[in-house]
Amino acid sequence: MLMLSELKKFRIVDLNGNGVKLVDLAIKDSAKVDYPPVYRLYFFNENGELASLRWETVREINLNKRVISVESFSGAQVFSPDILAKEIFLLRDVLDAIIIDLQNRRATRANDVWLEEKGGEIIIRGADASLKAIFRRLSGGKLGKPDENEIYDWRYVEFLRGNPEAVKNGAGYNLRITRLAPGEIAGLIDSIPYLHAAELIVLLPDDLAASVLEVTVLERQLQIFEELEEKNAVKMLGMISPESAARILKQLDAKLVKNYLEKVPPERSKKILGILQFEEGTVGSIMTTDVVFIPENLTIKEAREKLTERLREPDFVYFIYAVDADETRRLSGVVSLRQFVIGADEDKISDIMDKYVSYLNPLDDARLASFRIIDSHLAAMPVIHTDGKLLGAVTIDAAVSTVAPRGWQNQAPRVFS
């Protein structure tokens, strides 16, 4: 086992005895293989440029003399800054950097990196975040004997550079973070610096990024949002739920709000505006406008066909609201998902719907309405206009979050919204 903190003290020496100090090691295929190999050695050449040799040129590693022997420096290459920015450097990007231990779902610091020789290659085995690693480094290896049980297996490690632009520039990553659930990633995002958090969001596929952003605490959402490029920010606003988008927009400058609302797709913009038009503390301000509704005169079969596409999108599908028509949207009743699934094809929505629906006015006090929802043990309560038009629904999550003490609001589960 080789420790990176030791290896960084090594020199690269050719057959003629010419030597230079090892500056860094680059690994390849980090996202493709479990234990990526070191494939380049970096050093400063006689012109002061960062040059590199391929690992294949290495003849021997002498641990006692701290020397990496190579045939010659003649094959050394100098790459442009763009290429260098894309490399994964072990000293620059991993040692002492913030890493995410995916097995324990926690962010920590790579106090050392474990390397291993395998089939003539040096592979990266894991990161050591133990205090022993610190003692070992400070004492020059005299204290803190390495213990394999304390390393984080590289298969379950994600490292971050703290620079959201690195992703855009094509920098390499492990991309193992995508294995975690959105809520778990959101929990991690809350415990790392905001630039790392923004980098992580940019790194994720869009749909996962939106799901993570959705359940991230508001303060962190805002910091991430401010770091996103406008194009990405608009995309995220269009993908997260309207109530989450409204929550973020409420914290931004009016000019930015206008800019974003004009750039997100019109349908999404309308849904967000539907929430933003209500004053803080009212039911309208905590409702979701992403509700599923269906004309009451359709049969269940027709409704299923009509909703097939629709049901892919919104989060809240626990209830399906029956309305008089798509345009007027006057609430007639409510159908639970269970009724909808087990109902016979030929049954009409109006036959199976519950016509006696408890509902809220958008200008009702949000806190009182939240207690009403909690006391009624309903997953949600529809919000309707005085003329009977369905505007949205307040979910139990939003209700609990509204009445929870401020310190607990961030920890309240959000299953429906």
Binding site: A107, T108, Y194, V257, K258, G274, L276, N410
Partner: protein, 463 residues
Amino acid sequence: MTIKQPSQIPVGLETISKLEEIAFDNGAKKKRRRGMRLSIRGRSVMLRGLPQQPTGLFRWLFLLGPGLVAASAGNDAGGIATYSSTGAKFGYELMWVMLIITVSLAIVQEMCARLGAATGRGLLDLIRERFGLGWSVVAISAIMIANTGLVISEFVGIAAAGELFGISRYITVPLAAVVIWYLIVFGSYAQVERIFLLLTLVFFAYPVAAYLANPDWGAVAKGLLVPKIHANPEYLTVLVGLIGTTITPYMQIFQQSSTVERGVGRTTYGDERIDAYAGSIFSNFMSITMIIATAATLHQAGQTEIESAADAAKALAPVAGEMAQAVFGFGLFGASMLAAAVLPLATAYAVSETFGFSKGVNLDFRRAPIFFRLFSALIVLGAAVALVPNIPVIDLLFGVQVLNGAILPIILLFVLLLVNDQRLMRELKNSRVYNFLGWTTLIVITIAVLAMFAFQIWDLIKS
């Protein structure tokens, strides 16, 4: 007003005027209408959900936070002792130094706030990553030892303040420890910050004490504006002590870490610098009033030897009256409470940043176990040691000042190097004016610290 028929209203853009009428008719409490009118895709929409930004005085009050708390925490029990001793020994003569230190403190604190906003990371975190493990371990070791000593001295301050009012230390110290612990462990950062800000109000006790002391305002103005330097070693020792007390490493650590925890980002950083400036001005104004209070009374009465803040309060009674003593004691209690909370917090931040542990008041024991355990341990240790009878607090404070003095130039050097790092700071990098003031501060402080050590060595040789 025209109310559109439901069939004509686009989904999600219904007018709410009619709703309002009905809701208010139903007895709902009518609230002041808020919000903003925006034109979205050519259509004017009233968005009542958009909060109006605070204006006038409220706008500035909303900005206050880490800067005010960090700088005020510097006026702790040790600080009060130093300022009181300065006033008692030299009257108004050293007050001009405070004006200069205010500028330096404001510059240093603002740079830390900016570093926090630009990077989202604490000071020790950046030191570890930019200057290596060795330097960060040296810094954190000194900070740990110095801050532990200071935490003890804050609880001693709480005990002494309680005893001024006839309350046993065996009641005040455990009670204060439990209150501080509960606040940090169970509160959110926003709640903790609000309570810290409220605690800074106790410092108004010192202007009251200064007023009650009935000073010669002409002499005060002269002391503030006309620099006077003696070659007297005692004078220089006090001068150096003033600098060391006013700018201490834990203030920079707390400033940066709490700016991070407040969620200030690089794109929104701007007005927050007002907080750092206001905090420095506020805290040093209070320090000046402490000097005035003792200069006008104890110095005038020829009582020049003050070793602790409690001594100063006791000495005030026969000269300026019981009320002055009570006010001074009240200020000591509040200041010690604030510092007893801020110091363990700053230490826990620093240790967690160095070693990569989860940290933050917004987290809990489950999510940041080492951060909260360390905080709790410091509180328990500080309170327990403060209960030991006849603890040599003066010797303790002396040792702490030496350590803080040794580490301060190193911390300031790191701050200046970091805040000039283009890759890290981008558009928030130091300007030339800031660099001039920052490097000058570092040079002056380094000279002051070296002078302090020289005096102490000289004293040792003499004795």
